[in-house]
């Protein structure tokens, strides 16, 4: 953009476009309790559903007796698999090419699995009736460990017995799902064999849960008069839900309207399709009245999509000077009872092959084995693009382990291996083309900001003081440098259930110069109504305050694949900019007519078209909009609207440099975060205030995961962390003050150069917190200790290192 003069700058500022820390327009309603969430939807005659769930992790269902429940006054129906079977809805396809029981069909495979669906006059009667459904179970052997699953004679998925071919190739064992391989196996083994230095480590990324504040739910309403089904629900991808619902139910797609109202956080939890949605829809079709299903907190934690649960074994090789030569990674992926991962179809382990990270690693190989166990299905991307957090955690731990092996400073090891600025676009050994980056500049800025050398000196002094018995606290300096891959994605290789992952924007300019834009995405707290209006404001010269953004209603919004994997800005944001440019192109023709000049004699000037060389002759966008509707212009259709469907040519690759300074009490395992510095480069910055909010939120969820948040099972498959007493959700008290910073390296292929930011802090934050804990003990011989780093595990590490002797 060329430099603006003072008068132009004033007009530009009035637009509240790109770069403006505009306050979130959503917050007026959210802060006043005026949001409209699924559970706020109330309809006349609406019934309420509730699930009978399995107390066992693996059991045969011998019988289900619903008589007592049906006899309770107010109970309308109790659905079991038998009732759904005639509709072929007792099982449903998953997003990962597997199928999943909607209601227990013969057996249950995880604790909390849906067994029967009670429909009653009110929520309380439904809960009472759940207690009255008698289910006879015969317990079966439980497997909660994926390595044991691959050895066991116990067949978890009897429905797949004898099937040696799965959705992603051959199955090696009856509890095996797929093997996914990327890169050069032989060449990598050769490099590792010849290497001067090889570091090996197994890194477990524990099972956790996205845990949005609003749990999942839906209201289904089948209007039997006009044949139209409306479903309001907690959907991160409402259009996909509509298509899937049509394919499953046989109801034509134009007769299904799916609405995502306000959503109280998603973080990947609301991408998948859950039995509750299906049962609410079936119950409404059966009863002819609206049916609501809202899960409670324990149901959310126990049964809807988990995240992670990756056992990652790595080997990384280097020269004695620290130049990395090769990377080998094998993952044993615990997918639970059904493969319900929400990944693009061709990527059964998501984008795990971004695991070469920010480093120029010439040779690499990745293999992932998916495994069934008696745990809840899921495997969603919790505040990250598909498996990118796992990948970032893996490589950032391997770098630290290699630094120990080389007896080298981990910051320096990173620096000498970063992909250089001039290498972009960079082809990674595992198949990605990184669009842009300037890692060295970001790293140097981060290390300088925290006085890295000073920190290392202080840490060394602390170790000496500890050895002299003067302190019982150690100090950890956690480093991480991450590269994300977001904005899925190019239709040529990214689809979900066959639906290409483009996105869309449709703009309608009103005669008086305000506008509405509708998108195929759906905000769950990201602030789309604020930021997308800013993109448009800069493109079409109408103030963001005069632009309504609407999403989530499939009857009105253009088709899109929804919001997850930081794809809204890279994909729908691009569609918005391009739709805006179509508006501007038509506006230019209208302005030319009004000013009686040729199109080419006009130039765009913030919010108007100006005759070149005659700045006093112009038409503002507002004037043009009025003319578009009210003036007959030869050869130009009335109206001012545009739509753009955007298929991105590539992913975007945001990156960042984080540093965490942590003090650890070796006697109690209590850690205290003294400082956290986060530098993010998300390309062009749309709204710095919202970016900062995203960074704070993502870091807080990273802190949670690294320091205690887990879904833990006992050997019987019982969930040990089913409430907030034990599932760690940090409050303001546990959260440090974050220092945020940035560099700007625009994406070369995105219309406005933006890359997406919502998930970066989580992806970079988890390894940073974890590295801080590990680093605190490096001087005492620790190579690696698994997350979550809660008090007792930190204490155990200190104990094993002999620090309590």
């Amino acid at each position: 953009m060329k430099d603006l003069n003072e008068e132009q700058q004033e007009r530009a500022a009035g637009l509240k476009g790109l770069g403006c820390s505009r306050k979130r327009v959503e917050d007026a309603r959210f802060t006043q309790g005026k949001g409209n969430y699924v559970d706020d939807i109330k309809m006349p005659g609406m019934l309420h559903g509730d699930f009978v769930r399995s107390p066992y992790a693996h059991a045969r269902v011998k019988s289900i007796n619903t008589d007592a429940a049906m006899a309770l006054d107010g109970v309308v129906a109790v659905l079991t698999a038998k009732d759904l079977e005639p509709l072929s809805l007792h099982w449903m396809p998953t997003l990962a090419g597997d199928k999943q029981m909607v209601l227990a069909d013969g057996k249950v495979l995880f604790q909390g699995q849906e067994v029967a669906f009670v429909v009653a006059r009110d929520r309380f009667i439904a809960a009472d009736a759940v207690e009255l459904v008698e289910v006879e179970y015969e317990e079966l052997p439980v497997i909660v460990n994926p390595f044991e699953a691959l050895q066991s004679d116990v067949v978890l998925r009897e429905d797949l017995a004898g099937q040696t071919e799965g959705a992603h190739g051959p199955r090696k064992h009856h509890n095996h799902i797929f093997t996914w391989e990327v890169g050069e196996k032989d060449a990598t083994e050769q490099v590792l064999g010849d290497a001067e230095v090889v570091a090996e480590e197994t890194v477990y990324y524990h099972r956790t849960h996205p845990c949005p504040l609003e749990t999942c739910g839906a209201v289904a309403s089948m209007d039997k008069v006009n044949g139209k089904l409306t479903v309001w629900g907690t959907f991160q991808a409402p259009h996909v839900v509509r298509t899937v619902a049509s394919l499953l139910s046989g109801i034509e797609e134009h007769n299904i309207r799916v609405v995502s109202p306000d959503i109280g956080g998603g973080f990947g939890n609301k991408v998948g399709v859950y039995p509750g949605y299906v049962c609410a829809i079936v119950a409404s079709i059966v009863t002819g009245v609206p049916v609501k299903w809202i899960e409670d907190r324990m149901e959310n934690l126990m049964s809807t999509a988990f995240a992670r649960d990756y056992w990652m074994t790595g080997k990384i090789s280097a020269t004695k000077e620290g130049k990395i030569t090769g990377l080998h990674c094998h993952v044993t992926a615990d997918h639970g009872a059904f493969d319900a991962c929400a990944d693009p179809t061709k990527f059964p382990a998501g984008f795990m092959n971004i695991c070469t990270g920010s480093y120029d690693i010439p040779t690499a190989y990745l293999a992932v084995d998916g495994v069934y166990t008696n745990k809840a299905p899921g495997g969603v991307s919790y505040r990250c693009s598909f498996r990118v957090t796992e990948a970032a955690y893996f490589i950032e731990r391997m770098i630290e382990v290699l630094a120990i092996e080389l007896n080298m400073d981990a910051a320096e090891l990173r620096r000498i291996n970063f992909i250089k600025k001039e290498q972009f676009p960079y082809q990674s050994a595992l198949g990605w083309e990184y669009d842009s980056g300037d890692y060295h500049t970001a790293w140097d800025k981060a290390l300088k900001a925290v006085d890295y050398e000073g920190l290392r000196k202080e840490q060394a002094d602390r170790v000496e003081a500890f050895k002299r018995g003067e302190t019982r606290k150690l100090m950890g300096v956690g480093l991480s440098f991450f590269t994300e891959i977001v904005g899925a994605g190019p239709v040529k290789n990214c689809d979900i259930l066959g639906m290409g992952m483009f996105d869309s924007c449709e703009i309608r300019i009103h005669p008086t110069g305000s506008a509405i834009a509708r998108l195929g995405t759906i905000s769950q707290g990201q602030g789309h109504a604020t930021t997308f209006a800013q993109i448009l404001a800069s493109e079409i010269g109408i103030s963001a305050d005069s632009i309504t953004i609407e999403e989530g209603d499939t009857d009105t919004a253009p088709y899109g694949l929804g919001t997850y994997g930081s794809r809204s800005t890279p994909v729908a944001g691009a569609a918005t900019a391009l739709a805006g440019r179509k508006i501007r192109a038509k506006a230019q023709m209208i302005a030319a007519y009004l000013l009686e000049v040729h199109d080419n004699d006009l130039e765009w000037d913030v919010d108007r078209f100006v005759v070149k060389g005659a700045p006093e002759r112009f038409k503002t966008m507002k004037e043009i909009a009025y003319a578009a509707y009210n003036q007959a212009i030869p050869g130009v259709e009335p109206g001012l609207e545009a739509v753009s469907y955007y298929d991105p040519p590539n992913m975007t690759y945001p990156f960042g440099a984080y540093v965490c300074v942590m003090d650890i009490d070796v006697d109690t395992g209590v850690q205290e975060i003294r400082k956290f510095y986060a530098l993010d480069d998300c390309g062009t910055r749309i709204n710095p205030m919202i970016i900062e909010g995203q960074v704070h939120g993502g870091l807080t969820e990273a802190l949670a995961v690294a320091l205690g948040q887990e879904i833990a099972y006992d050997d019987m498959g019982n969930v040990k962390t089913g409430t907030f007493m034990d599932f760690f959700l940090p409050t303001a008290w546990e959260v440090p003050n974050y220092i945020t910073d940035h560099t700007v390296t625009p994406s070369p292929h995105h219309p406005i150069g933006a890359k997406g930011v919502g998930e970066s802090p989580h992806v970079g934050g988890v390894p940073c917190f974890s590295n801080a804990v590990n680093d605190a003990f490096r001087a005492f011989g620790l190579r690696h200790t698994h997350m979550p780093h809660d008090h007792w595990r930190i204490w155990q590490t200190a104990n094993r290192l002999g620090l309590h002797d």
Binding site: R123, A126, D296, R297, M298, T721, W733, E734, H791, H804
Partner: protein, 284 residues
């Protein structure tokens, strides 16, 4: 998280409460702040067909300090307790403890009486009241009686209170001297991984009297008489503290849970008690 059906009562005096308890026997429970009972009802782990709310009984909200005698009504909230200048001056350990319970929102509702009466080993007030040698005042069909906090707890959720009795107040003699309530927890709102209540009276450079109680390290709070005794007569030096910790470790019996295994809890209990004694001695 939907409770089973129940009838709700809100009597305005204790006679009304006792009458309801007599009428419904073990099908009735009294409700104070509700932060233990209501979650249990929502989880359907507690079946309470008759729920008797004590919010309507103003006489249970009194705080009285007369000389050294402190009396706290059962329905005094943790917030009231933190907010009372009188109590903070007479027995500052109460405030120090209450500030480590849950979070401000919970403390506006949660009561001292509920915390003490319920018999949840995770609650902080029981150990504190044992440390202070408090008396618990109960009322039932046969009138009033008092019982020492040190005799009240039998097992998790099992106490000396009969089903038709209600805790009305807690009283104790406030002793001058040093004090500390030290608690390790995983996060705000959590129960203790380990917590210690300590009071110490000092005389001529040595410990004249000491009382020590531990929270969430057995199925009841643990008043460790031996741990306190180990300090008496000493200058509260490292050796004495070590002896007190060793005595305390002989009295606790923690179990493994998500906070960690037994060895960890025992280790942390020792660290926490050491810190509590050190702080109490500094203040003595």
């Amino acid at each position: 998280m939907i409770p089973a059906p129940f009838d709700y009562y809100r009597p305005s005096d204790l006679d009304g409460v006792i009458a309801l308890l007599q009428e419904h026997g073990d099908e009735a429970r009294v409700l104070a702040g509700g932060h233990s009972l209501i979650p249990m009802m929502k989880l359907r782990m507690a079946d309470v067909p008759h729920l008797i709310d004590l919010q309507g009984i103003d006489s249970l909200r009194a705080i009285n300090v007369t000389g050294t005698r402190v009396t706290i009504g059962a329905m005094v909230t943790q917030h009231d307790l933190i907010d009372s200048a009188e109590l903070s001056s007479a027995a500052p350990i109460l405030r120090e403890t209450a500030l480590q319970i849950a979070d401000p929102q919970v403390r506006y509702m949660g009561t001292v009486g509920g915390n003490v009466a319920n018999g949840d080993p995770g609650n902080d007030m029981p150990g504190l009241m044992q440390c202070l040698d408090a008396q618990l005042h109960l009322i039932g069909p046969d009138g009033e009686r008092s019982i020492a906090a040190r005799d009240y707890y039998e097992a998790a959720y099992m106490t000396a209170r009969e089903d038709d009795e209600v805790l009305t107040a807690i009283s104790f003699d406030a002793q001058p001297g040093g004090y500390a309530y030290e608690k390790q927890k995983r996060k705000i709102g959590d129960y203790a991984t380990a917590a210690a209540a300590v009071t110490i009276q000092k005389s001529g450079g040595s410990v004249a009297a000491a009382s020590i109680a531990m929270t969430n390290l057995s199925d009841t709070p643990v008043w460790s008489e031996a741990a306190g005794a180990a300090l008496v007569g000493t200058a509260c030096d490292a050796g004495a503290i070590k002896a007190a910790v060793a005595a305390m470790l002989g009295d606790i019996d923690p179990t493994e849970d998500n906070r960690g295994p037994v060895a960890f809890k025992r280790h942390v209990a020792g660290v926490i008690l050491t810190r509590a004694i050190t702080r109490a001695w500094d203040r003595a």
